[in-house]
């Protein structure tokens, strides 16, 4: 029961915040709602007993990436952008296409639900304690992808520095 309350609460929070992210006019508010959505997702991770992922989400996503976003927004926040048109001229086409994609996906899940074991409740205690298991998997089986990911981060870091440098 508690589990369900937690899930639906966070799911509703995430969905509402997500809608607000794409509809708010003020970009700072968008960022705040994105943070809310990310934290709600983190709550869902916790409800799924993925503690490590929960904390990674909080530290990296909410605490790291979003700080970067907010930082940049504050550096280049233009009051003018509040008074400009917020949507593309072809927004209706985009919306339509996006909805079609969404409908497709939802259809796929809805159809697949009867075939795949989706509907069954997820087993409760398969992944405990998850931190150790994640660590073993990450540094055992997925060692190479892990290293590649770290190289990706390095490349991104250098790229970002070069991009944002003032005088090249």
């Amino acid at each position: 029961m508690l589990d369900q309350i937690v899930f639906y609460f966070f799911a509703a929070l995430a969905a509402i915040s997500a809608v607000l992210v794409v509809t708010r006019r003020n970009i700072v508010q968008c960022a705040i709602f994105l943070i809310t959505a990310l934290l709600a997702t983190a709550g869902i991770f916790l409800q799924l007993h993925a503690e490590f992922l929960f904390i990674v989400q909080v530290i990296l996503y909410a605490g790291g990436i979003m700080v970067l976003f907010v930082f940049v927004i504050m550096l280049i926040n233009l009051d003018i952008s509040l008074h400009q048109a917020q949507y593309n001229r072809q927004w209706w086409l985009g919306l339509l296409l996006a909805l079609v994609v969404g409908a497709h996906l939802i259809l796929a899940v809805a159809v697949g639900r009867s075939v795949l074991p989706f509907g069954e409740p997820a087993p409760a205690t398969m992944l405990e304690p998850s931190t150790q298991i994640v660590g073993r998997t990450l540094f055992g089986e997925y060692m190479l992808p892990f290293e590649i990911a770290s190289i990706l981060l390095l490349v991104a870091m250098i790229g970002a520095v070069v991009m944002a440098k003032k005088k090249v």
């Binding site: 899940v109 998997t137 003032k166």
Partner: protein, 100 residues
């Protein structure tokens, strides 16, 4: 217990909202944020499946995706900053020149 399909529906919902944001908004930062939203939706999916199957691989992939999101945000914001410095705008439909 919550059926896995509910996680999937949530994930799909967030993903679709993200797509809507990407294709309809003009402000590049909001577009970037919508992409983050989509990546996030995928993460929910991965973790829910991971729970269903009872393995940690979904978690591992979610971590990779978060890494990716971090890299993407860093480079994306770097581009936005240098773009802004040159053009004083944040609108995607004004980014229509390959060179200036």
């Amino acid at each position: 217990m919550i059926p896995t399909s509910h996680y999937l529906f949530l994930s799909l919902g967030l993903f679709t909202i993200g797509i809507i944001g990407v294709v309809t908004r003009r402000n590049v930062i909001i577009i970037l944020m919508s992409i983050e939203l989509m990546l996030n939706a995928v993460n929910i999916n991965l973790v829910a499946f991971s729970r269903l199957v009872g393995s940690a691989e979904g978690h591992v992939f979610a971590i990779f995706i978060i890494t990716d999101a971090a890299a993407e945000a860093a480079v994306g914001l770097g581009i936005i900053i240098s773009f802004f410095r040159n053009r004083e705008t944040l609108l995607s439909d004004e980014m229509d020149l390959l060179k200036w």
